[in-house]
Amino acid sequence: MRYAQSVNHALALLLEQDERVFLAGEDIGVYGGAFGVTDGLVDRFGEARVRDTPISEEAIAGLAVGAAITGMLPIVEMQFSDFVVNAMDPIVNQAAKLHFMYGGNVEVPMVIRLPGGGGTGAAAQHSQSLEAWFAHIPGLKVVAPATAQDAQDLLLAAVADPNPVLVFEHKLLYKNEESVELRTSTAAPTALGEAVIRRAGTDLTIVAYSIMVGKALEAAERLESSGISAEVVDLRSLRPLDIETVRASVRRTGRLLVTHEAPAAVGIGAEVVAGVVESDALDYLLAPVARVCGKPIPMPYAKALERATIPQVEDVELAAKELLNA
């Protein structure tokens, strides 16, 4: 099934089995969401639980906080992750802080789904990858599922978690067809904060998340035919970050390449590299580390410009070869 349908299945399961769950967001009802992810849910569960909101991102995130601390399990959507910028206060100043600030007397079990990323020709204000902003904030959790299976499983885990969790879904992944083991219970099928090795290898470790996992795997295939064996680690969760899995991989391979669509500066890649060199894994490095990231410019519209801005399979492949030659 498609990645989008996998999210839809998880949402339906949650709505069906837990009456505290409700959805809110722009055009998630009869329109089915800008990317069809919530298709059909309003027909099944009604407008009281699948709530079309006015165009009011701050209120969408804020109502989730208020509902969450009073006994509901809100799953709200930013129609494009870019619009979360209008909702920073409820997320960063409120949701992230309340549990700690109120001395542990309150829990904020809310989930925000954020379709993000470029490649759709939607240009600078509809294509960003803003996950690192939130991974910076103590009190928030951030996941970025790369597969249709994880789209379901990490969402279920996010809802089961008593903390605010942001789920970044890359828009280009929605149409990916993969086989998915459909869950029948809302119990978290996976832990939040565990990376997985998507492909084992011995010459270098490629760390990726979200859409770059697929590209990293494709690059690994190509590298294989050049006699290079790449291991691909899918972070899955960006906060908490499973740095141990990365370190263990680097100890085996001796080389590290991190890739994400967001620009490099102050990004997840920098955090991963720091986490590696802060440990004894540093001693295993046979080459400098490399980052393959989005260009440091707003996302352009024109196809050729957009493509040049987003890291491609060949960019990962080339950087990996350079590491091997270093």
């Binding site: 020709g121 260009k295 707003p298 024109a302």
Partner: protein, 306 residues
């Protein structure tokens, strides 16, 4: 209005031929708002636009060839292929830009009006926004600030009755956007946005007052969007009958053309000639844009900074 209509129709055609990228928001059916407002502006007055901005941009005097070139990913486009449909700006000509963020231009328009006030230019800023935008915090913050500081800005609500799939009655408390102006102590009027003369008159009147130093005003223009919100819209939230009703009975171009012939003694042949002139202008724009050089990735380095 004709140029806007034909421009948008040309885009539909180009899009279906795969010559454009991404999506776009067409203003077919809403031409009278852009035209009526911009006709009331003087040289040197500013506009800010929205994601549905082709009409505003053309009405404010932009070059259709450079707009086409932008949409066709050309280096000669207004934004060198970097902005696309949602971000066309013609800054040299006082168009401070279309905006992909709903209500995103409202605070910017307020700031541009502050410049006019501080520099005593006598110019005004017309800020286009949709009915859906009136539910963003930026709408309320902008109206309040503009009102307490008496800024020369006209808030032009292009009320096409839907914000994507949300009808105004499902999204907007209080019945109308114009009514909200009262809360901020500024004049607010609601006009037939498919009557280009009514839009012009209301704008003209508001501009006179604003230029005089009376502060901001809000004009809500009621209109209708014929096409889907964007290219991915299945129109599930409204009926085909509703769309047809607006198209056949209230089309802003047909109404104005009909009025010119019936009441103003304009010959039908003049109307036909105007159509042909507009058509060929857009046709020429497409042809010129097709031949222009593509936007070049080599120019991107360092492009984020001045």
């Amino acid at each position: 209005m004709l140029e806007i209509r034909y421009f948008e129709e040309a885009l539909e055609e180009l899009f279906s031929r795969g010559l454009l990228h991404g999506t776009m928001h067409l203003s077919i059916g809403q031409e009278a708002v852009a035209e009526g407002v911009c006709a009331a502006l003087d040289d040197g007055d500013y506009i800010t636009s929205t994601h549905r901005g082709h009409g505003h941009t053309l009405a404010h005097g932009a070059d259709p060839t450079a707009m086409m070139a932008e949409l066709m990913m050309k280096d000669t486009g207004y934004c060198r292929g970097r902005g696309g449909s949602m971000h066309i700006a013609d800054v040299a000509n006082g168009n401070l830009g279309a905006n992909g963020i709903v209500a995103g231009s409202m605070t910017i328009a307020t700031g541009a009006a502050l410049t006019q006030q501080m520099q005593g230019t006598g110019k005004v800023v017309a800020c286009f926004f949709g009915d859906g935008a009136a539910n963003e915090g930026a709408f309320h913050e902008s109206l309040n600030l503009a009102a307490v500081w008496d800024l020369p800005v006209l808030f032009i609500c292009e009320n096409n009755q839907y914000g994507m799939s949300m009808s105004q009655d499902r999204s907007t408390a209080g019945g109308s956007v114009a009514a909200r102006s009262a809360a901020y102590g500024m004049p607010g009027t609601r006009v037939d946005g498919n009557d280009v003369e009514a839009v012009y008159e209301a704008t003209h009147e508001a501009i006179v007052a604003t230029r005089r130093g009376d502060g901001p005003a809000l004009i809500e223009c009621v209109t209708y969007r014929y096409r889907g919100h964007s290219k991915s819209d299945r129109n599930l939230y409204r009926t085909q009958d509703e769309i047809e009703d607006w198209r056949t009975h209230r089309d802003p171009i047909e109404r104005f053309a009909g009025k010119l012939v019936a009441e103003r003694g304009v010959a039908q042949s003049n109307i036909d000639a105007a159509r042909e002139t507009a058509r060929s202008k857009i046709r020429d724009a497409v042809q010129a844009a097709v031949k222009a050089p593509d936007a070049d990735p080599a120019d991107l380095t360092g492009a984020a900074y001045a």
